[in-house]
């Protein structure tokens, strides 16, 4: 009665939606706190994880993509594509575990669990970010290959600019536009996929909350988390479009 579960489904849904828009998701079945309190506690951790993962993915993908494009069809290119193909084939939960075995236990470089310091985030960030790296790298490579054949690159070389300047100042600036947009979208996927990683590394983030709540049938929390992440997805897709437009000066003036 208290939860209004006796009223028809449709009414319940719209009531929920109305409250949700005011950020009132009700109370958790399991905890005493409101859902918003729980989410507020966990969201920063997941966001931190997501940001680090994206940073790592981009930090690897862009140089690799540029190198693959510049040394097309050489071993550099083939190696990059190999890394990308393998990266997309490994299941993330397994890779997460493998990282623990190798780095935490085998080499003892990094801690295993918890979220005390930034070091706790390194392995999870790698485990979450590696899956996004291949598509970002391929897009960078394709963009660079496309751009390097342009007339303005030929002009830049004809001006006597150093090869580094031609590649990084002129070529990359134009090739990177779709990559930035894709990165925004990938961040959304990472937020959604954080469930597995947080569970493996025992990080008290949003994904872990969702997972535990699913196990405990704590529906208000589950609904709230799914909605929040879906909203992030949509918001990030929008951000991607905005970035696309903002980075291309042809769109800016006029």
């Amino acid at each position: 009665m208290q939860y209004g579960l006796d009223r028809p489904m449709v009414t319940q849904f719209f009531e929920w939606l109305g409250s949700a828009l005011q950020l009132d998701f009700g109370r958790s079945f399991y905890f005493q706190n409101t859902v918003m309190e729980l989410v507020g506690e966990r969201l920063p951790i997941t966001l931190k994880l997501g940001a680090m993962s994206l940073l790592l993915a981009v930090a690897v993908a862009i140089p690799l993509g540029v190198a693959a494009a510049l040394y097309r069809d050489t071993w550099v290119d083939r190696l990059a594509l190999l890394v990308a193909t393998i990266g997309q084939a490994m299941p993330n939960f397994w890779f997460a575990l493998a990282l623990i075995v190798v780095f935490s236990v085998g080499l003892k470089w990094l801690p295993v669990a918890g979220n005390a310091s930034w070091q706790n985030f390194v392995l999870p960030a790698v485990a979450l970010g590696y899956y996004a790296m291949p598509s970002l790298m391929r897009l960078t490579r394709a963009g660079m290959l496309d751009v390097m054949g342009s007339d303005y690159i030929r002009t830049a070389r004809a001006k006597g600019l150093s090869p580094a300047r031609v590649v990084f100042k002129h070529a990359l600036r134009n090739a990177i536009i779709p990559v930035v947009a894709l990165a925004a979208v990938e961040l959304g996927f990472m937020l959604g996929g954080s469930v597995v990683i947080e569970s493996v590394y025992s990080l008290q983030g949003l994904g872990q909350l969702a997972w535990d709540s699913i196990a405990r049938n704590d529906y208000p929390v589950v609904q709230a988390v799914v909605l929040i992440i879906a909203t992030f997805y949509i918001a990030l897709t929008f951000v991607a479009d905005v970035l696309n437009a903002a980075l291309d000066p042809r769109m800016r003036t006029r």
Binding site: T155, K159, G160, L161, R173
Partner: protein, 330 residues
């Protein structure tokens, strides 16, 4: 006037699926300081490849060789990429055909102009900007100060080409290679740009290799002309001599195609040159023009050497070199 650019037996080969394409097959020419040399020929004759070969901007798979390729005494073949980068933009610049795509859309014109100078000289941003402004004004760009802050897409084709010309002059080079800079422009703008190039060339004393397929352009601005056909230079001469006394049958054929005011009678036919250019994949036997030449002789089955027929006037033709059997020019 001393010789600035000395090219002897330049060859450019491009490996293709069908075999090795000999785009440039041993050309000789020279450019003196402050001189305007027009390199004229039809599409596919190798003139663009020549320009890229000089600048060291050939595609990676192309192969270049020459007996001599000297710029102001510097052996261009001995330069590695870094050496060429030092020369490019600073001592030899290039202007391309397509102003619409030759500028980076993501940077302002000012940025692109100034970087052309600052890549080679230690100048402050303000000094570079000053020079850019000066050259833009000399190039006839109105509201030059505003233009520096604008992006390429905000300018018309003609204006962009003026910017390209200014950019080529930023470091005060000794040589500018202009690859059909007016071909992609409106006819009305073409004349303006041509005049501009000629004026700037004479004012700054820059030598120019002007590549074109239009004999009208040649007549208007050239000091000397080199006619290219099928990867070879078939005739070089001072511009007046070329039009008055064309020696190579191809040059003669070209001139016959153009109506000349005062000479061509109304109602008379313009004569096109029959036949097609031979394929340059694989070796060409003998003279490349032989299959289309009205003055062909058995001796033409051997590739004719480049020989002087008058001071400063050289021809690659057996018939022209031995005028005893020269046919009447129409």
């Amino acid at each position: 006037m001393s010789i600035l650019l000395d090219v002897k037996n330049l060859r450019v080969d491009l490996p293709t699926e069908r075999g090795m394409l000999h785009t440039v097959r041993g050309i000789d020419f020279q450019v003196r300081r402050g001189e305007m040399l027009c390199l004229v020929g039809e599409s596919g004759c190798g003139k663009s490849m020549t320009s890229l070969a000089l600048m060291g901007l050939l595609p990676a798979r192309a192969r270049r060789s020459a007996d001599r390729l000297q710029f102001d005494g510097i052996d261009l073949q001995a330069q590695d990429e870094r050496g060429m980068s030092r020369l490019r933009g600073a001592r030899m610049s290039m202007i391309f055909q397509e102003p619409m795509t030759s500028l980076n859309p993501s940077y302002t014109l000012g940025d692109q102009l100034c970087e052309a100078l600052r890549a080679h000289r230690k100048v402050t941003a303000a000094e570079a900007r000053e020079r850019a402004l000066y050259l833009l004004e000399r190039a006839g760009v109105p509201q030059a100060a505003d233009r520096l802050r604008q992006y390429p897409h905000q300018l018309s084709g003609g204006l962009r080409q003026r910017v390209m010309i200014a950019m080529a002059l930023m470091c005060g080079p000794d040589l500018i290679i202009a690859d059909e800079p007016t071909t992609a422009l409106d006819v009305t703008i073409q004349a303006q740009i041509l005049r501009l190039i000629r004026e700037l060339q004479q004012e700054f004393g820059t030598a120019v290799v002007f590549i074109t397929h239009d004999l009208g352009v040649v007549a208007r601005i050239a000091d000397r002309v080199a006619v290219m056909y099928a990867g070879e230079v078939v005739e070089t001469a001072p511009v007046d001599q070329l039009f008055d006394q064309p020696s190579h049958p191809y040059t003669q054929g070209l001139l016959r195609c153009i109506p000349v005011r005062g000479k061509t009678l109304p109602g008379s036919r313009l004569q096109a040159i029959p036949g097609v250019v031979p394929s340059l994949v694989g070796e060409v036997q003998g003279c490349a023009f032989a299959n289309r030449c009205s003055q062909v002789r058995p001796a033409c089955s051997v590739a004719p050497p480049f020989a002087e027929v008058a001071p400063g006037h050289a021809v690659r033709c057996v018939t022209a070199a031995h005028p005893a059997t020269l046919a009447e020019v129409a």
